[in-house]
Symmetry: C2
Amino acid sequence: EDLGYFSAYAHHGIHEEMLKDKVRTLSYRRAVMSNAAVFRDAVVLDVGCGTGILSMFAARAGARRVIAVDMSDVVYQAMDIVRENKLEHIITVIRGKVEEVSLPVDKVDIIISEWMGYFLLFESMLDSVLYARDKWLTPNGHMFPNLCSISLAAVGNVSKHQEHIGFWNDVYDFKMSCMVSIVEKEAVIETVGKDDIMSNSAVVKELDLKTCSVTELDFSSEFLLTACRKGVVTAITGFFDIRFDKDLQEPVSFSTSAADTPTHWKQTLFYLREPIPVCQGEVIRGNVQVLKDPKDPRSLLVTLSVNGRTFNYTMD
Amino acid sequence: EDLGYFSAYAHHGIHEEMLKDKVRTLSYRRAVMSNAAVFRDAVVLDVGCGTGILSMFAARAGARRVIAVDMSDVVYQAMDIVRENKLEHIITVIRGKVEEVSLPVDKVDIIISEWMGYFLLFESMLDSVLYARDKWLTPNGHMFPNLCSISLAAVGNVSKHQEHIGFWNDVYDFKMSCMVSIVEKEAVIETVGKDDIMSNSAVVKELDLKTCSVTELDFSSEFLLTACRKGVVTAITGFFDIRFDKDLQEPVSFSTSAADTPTHWKQTLFYLREPIPVCQGEVIRGNVQVLKDPKDPRSLLVTLSVNGRTFNYTMD
């Protein structure tokens, strides 16, 4: 299954989409360039370097040496790109799994990585980043980014719910209701309109990248959401926030919330088979559990309880 | 590689997209229901049945027996769907490759199939349809659809060309020009705006499904396109037209051209590395060659010559 994961990243389209996501790429650039003092003369490790853009930001900010690692065949492009920009005296591109590769240095001062998947944890690349941290980061080293959080909010859009769930009850005058039980179990990646947000957001997980462990990535959390208007909650949306702010002069952050500029991560939607009507100010009580699928560690199993009703989802 | 092909069709999302493509699904429904006389008491084979929607149209039109075959795991849903609609006395759903399966009948009167891929021939499911025809269709039998054509037209959209090709020359102040040689070789699936059409369309291949052979699916053809306005040709678009009209009282057809309602097939775009300026009325001379990739028969190799310049593309 890892073969499929890495070969998907060999295709340029996925890198094009990530590069063209300006919220993502400009945040990384600002985090690096506005904090060039931290990068000056530093040894930097770029985990999952893709086309090498983050390594080049680090080199331009004054890094002494940058080691860029990726298991996908895109590294061969990264090698060409580094040469094209005459940065091969600073950036060393290595093809391999972080867990298996030998680095030409013993320790690194900074680990930079854009490892975030849908709903933050989908595809589990963070495991590799934490492995690299434990093996190579100096005690006073920096993680870029250093802080991430996952949040939930209520969403109300009856026509999208109908399109997604109700659709199967009448497909060109035929019934396909048996599809509902398959469709409803799947988390959906979709941009939520600002007007569809029905509640405040609740942080359900915070990860300090300098200290967290892989075991913390399976978690369970209670949450409370307060409806900001009367309506029908048709889904719970999940998103994440990213911060570059530990010991930095110029903190940088970005959000993948529906209230902010859309990114290529969009939002993650957990549709509720039966929508929940709420009044303005009503509190929705819930619990969320996120686990790696033991059968496929790059997939996630998400269990949501909302006002006592439990829904199970997969992301694969 | 076939494993990947069939497992992609196991996911409901792809079937949802196809069902929600009304140009596609309503054309099939109209072709069947408006020609119910042809279906009355007929034995029908549905090749690549997916959720079984075409089989149910055939059953509702009066077919005596429908055999629905698909190699993807979606057949298990198709079986449930057939039962849900109380059509199991007419429709038999069989999991298997058309090339390997045994049918409970010797001959069929009608083969219905929605086998079309991007640029008509991508993914080569037509090979299986022709195999089924040669093995099971009675001499006076009907193919639904019975006639398909592939056409080309010139497209001019300088800003999309810049976004697709020029982008790589300046990515956040870095050069990634080495990506151009990868990107330009790939056919792009994209909806072309009506205003971007720069010429008439030229049919480069016509396929009579009742008589054509698999060897005809590799082809080469000259074409002439006349510019309908002064401008810059930045790509050649490919699309296809589908007809249900052989010996039918009520002919039905649909087109995936940029001039018509968009479908889930969108259009196929072959970007030209160097755009070609043209005057109104100018004739663009070209040749197109379409071959199955010997290394992966579900992929296509497309070679376009436009005004003497040759460009190579892959669809995989």
